[in-house]
């Protein structure tokens, strides 16, 4: 069997149903083999970077690894930002790149790039396949590594001739994903620490969602009565309409969150990596509280701050083991002071069951604080890398994965980075609502320039875009509100659309 067909077989073994790819010389054999294959659908975006973001949107909406494929050279280098994004946000992904034939490797052939070397530091692991005999097992390893432990992207680079050479295909069942189990000693120490604390605060990160542990976390939070805060990556890990929910740590936390931090004697961080933004909150408002760190990745323990105590393991297993060991506490509530932006809550009200994606910038921070997300995998944002242009292709991936309406919230700056993807959404008739908050500038950058550079705004003016004309040109229904005026009527209009719809909100903020 040819290498390309072996790849298809392994993708079928792994129950892959969707591949995002962009054609090019060295990957054509694979695309040809994927044509009309039962159970696998091929999608393409306008640019390889968007293929990776779409694959990430797919992965974060479903929990299954996203699959992306691209050709050698520029096709491969265009994956870099998307892989880095997935790496920072621990998203399971498998990227397959074609490369020049084996005998030309290292000779600077046309469209040759050492993508193996380039992506080494932005993938969880990567491979270059040097023989068709090792192809199947390498690809299987890629899926196992991507989906095991702390998840992440894995790249498999395949020289062109290997797609066309033959080897015997031996079927295999996918190996069980391996998740580290917590150690009893660490669990007992953690339980004692919790029992001795009187005002614990529970902070949830993306690890809760990655481990499908939201229900366990809910039971845990209810038993301990703790106030609950989340990181941006943790949005959806705890229902925001719950009275124990307080808001976000990181950028611009609300007064209740800060009060809870000041009161707290034990900060339980679950599935998060104590980013520098979060540490700033802790140092300022709770410099003396004890830290209990629950995470799947041992290297995160003590990386950014010394943890008083830690349990390493898959969060689902950690919480399941920890629950019977801790005593219940009376619930503690703080005033419901989450300051939500009404523009965003109105949009959420119109699409309460949708999956939300965002771009990066001022609108993203508002979305993080304002959307009352209640379910995991319903909020997808570029957390660690902060990639402008992530949202719309991620929305495409999430819409393909779930079949649900996906609302992408964008600023006009980010939209200028990926607007051609609107045509992809139209091409596949996806249920995507594109919202652009148009303030004709890079709002977050302007804020930084106001704060640190005496208001000198450099390169922050965005191109003047006639968005209604653009929407019409792409065949997308368009509605507009200025400063939220008439927004309910605009949203009613938008809700009538079954496919792609464009909402522009003109604003000065």
């Amino acid at each position: 069997m040819k290498g390309a067909e072996i790849i298809v077989k392994v993708l079928q073994e792994q129950k892959v149903d969707t591949v995002f790819g962009y054609p090019g010389g060295t990957i054509l054999s694979l695309l040809d083999a994927l044509r009309n294959k039962r159970g696998i659908k091929l999608y393409t975006n306008c640019h390889e970077q968007f293929c990776t973001h779409a694959a990430e949107g797919y992965a974060r909406a479903t929990g299954k690894p996203g699959v992306v494929t691209a050709t050698s050279g520029p096709g491969a280098t265009n994956l870099v930002t998307g892989l880095a994004n997935a790496y920072m946000d621990s998203t399971p992904m498998v990227a397959i790149t074609g490369n020049v034939p084996l005998h030309l490797l290292g000779r600077d052939a046309f469209q040759e790039i050492d993508i193996y070397g380039v992506t080494m530091s932005i993938t969880k692991h990567n491979f270059i396949v040097k023989s068709v005999e090792s192809l199947a097992d390498t690809l299987r390893s890629a899926f196992r590594i991507a989906s095991s432990g702390r998840k992440g992207p894995v790249l498999v680079d395949i020289p062109k001739n290997i797609f066309d050479e033959c080897a015997k295909y031996v079927p295999a069942t996918p190996s069980e994903e391996v998740f580290p189990l917590p150690r009893g000693e660490e669990l007992r120490e953690a339980a004692e620490l919790i029992d001795r604390s009187s005002r614990p605060v529970l902070c949830l990160g993306g690890g809760v969602i990655a481990s499908n542990a939201a229900e366990k976390v809910y039971t845990f939070a209810k038993k301990l009565g703790t106030p609950v805060i989340t990181t941006a990556m943790g949005i959806g890990s705890f229902p925001q309409d719950d009275e124990q929910y307080l808001g976000l740590v990181g950028l611009q936390p609300n007064p209740s969150t800060l009060q809870a931090l000041r009161d707290c004697d034990l900060f339980i961080g679950a599935g998060l990596r104590f980013s520098e933004r979060m540490l700033e909150n802790l140092r300022l408002h709770s410099p003396h509280c004890k830290i209990l760190h629950l995470d799947i990745d041992e290297a995160e323990i003590g990386k950014n701050l010394p943890a008083y105590s830690a349990v390493v393991g898959d969060l689902f297993a950690v919480l399941e083991s920890l629950l019977p060991l801790v005593s219940a506490k009376a619930p503690r509530y703080y005033p419901d002071a989450v300051p939500r932006d009404p523009l965003y809550t109105q949009i959420f009200g119109a699409f309460p069951d949708a999956v939300y994606t965002t771009e990066v910038g001022a609108h993203q921070i508002k979305a993080c604080h304002s959307l009352p997300i209640v379910k995991p995998r319903h909020f997808i944002t570029s957390g660690g890398l902060g990639t402008m242009g992530f949202g719309l292709p991620a929305a495409i991936g999430a819409a393909i994965a779930t079949g649900k309406r996906v609302v992408n919230l964008a600023g006009d700056g980010s939209f200028a980075m990926n607007l051609q993807e609107l045509s992809t959404a139209v091409k596949y008739r996806l249920p995507i609502t594109q919202v652009v908050f148009n303030n004709r500038r890079l709002g977050m950058i302007c804020d930084l320039q106001d704060r640190d550079y005496e208001g000198r705004h450099i390169l922050t003016e965005t191109p003047a875009m006639d968005l209604p004309a653009m929407a019409t040109a792409m065949g997308v229904p368009f509605v507009r509100s200025t400063e939220g005026e008439g927004l309910p009527a605009v949203l009613t209009e938008a809700r009538k659309e079954k496919g792609v719809c464009f909402i522009e909100v003109l604003t000065d903020h």
């Binding site: 193996y116 070397g117 080494m120 530091s121 969880k124 692991h125 270059i128 040097k130 590594i145 702390r150 990745d297 041992e298 290297a299 323990i301 003590g302 990386k303 010394p306």
Partner: protein
């Protein structure tokens, strides 16, 4: 307190593994004093000996980060009394007037002469850090032309 720690890192003997490990140290800003690598009794496995500098927290981080590398099989920190050896090749200025003196000093350190010319001597010397550094200091007084060090390789006793 910053100290030198010696790690034995067993890795899959495959393409790029050295780049992965050295890249990890470079990217995260960890200090390497020396790194040596060679096959073990099992040709599929290589053993790296890494001398790194850091306080306890950094060394713990280094070990955890190394364990995350897919091609790393195991990471061990060697004990303070581990057997550590390094080999130096040292080319020293030595002519008719001082050759005997240089040879005499080398004898004390059990350094072996490998090459002699009218103007130079090349010695091979193997040993632990203190012996090699002491030899190096002595040879400096005669004038060192060049030096090549292998880096430390080491294992625990017993």
């Amino acid at each position: 307190m910053e100290q030198i720690h010696v790690l034995s890192v067993f890795v899959n003997n495959c393409v790029g593994v050295l780049t992965r490990i050295s890249g990890l140290f470079a990217r995260r800003g960890y200090n390497i004093k020396s790194l040596t690598v060679g096959e073990t009794e099992n040709p599929a496995v290589s053993r790296m000996t890494i001398e790194c500098i850091g306080d306890a927290q950094i060394i713990t981080q280094i070990k955890s980060q190394l364990r995350k590398v897919v091609d790393v099989i195991s990471v061990e920190e060697l004990k303070a009394d581990a057997v550590c050896r390094e080999l130096f090749l040292v080319k020293v200025r030595a002519n008719d007037t001082n050759r005997t003196a240089v040879m005499g000093v080398a004898e004390i350190y059990r350094a072996r002469p490998l090459d002699v010319t009218p103007e130079t001597l090349v010695f091979e010397i193997c040993g632990d850090r203190s012996k090699l550094e002491s030899f190096f200091e002595m040879m400096k007084t005669y004038g060192i032309v060049e030096i090549a060090r292998t880096g430390v390789t080491a294992m625990d006793r017993g």
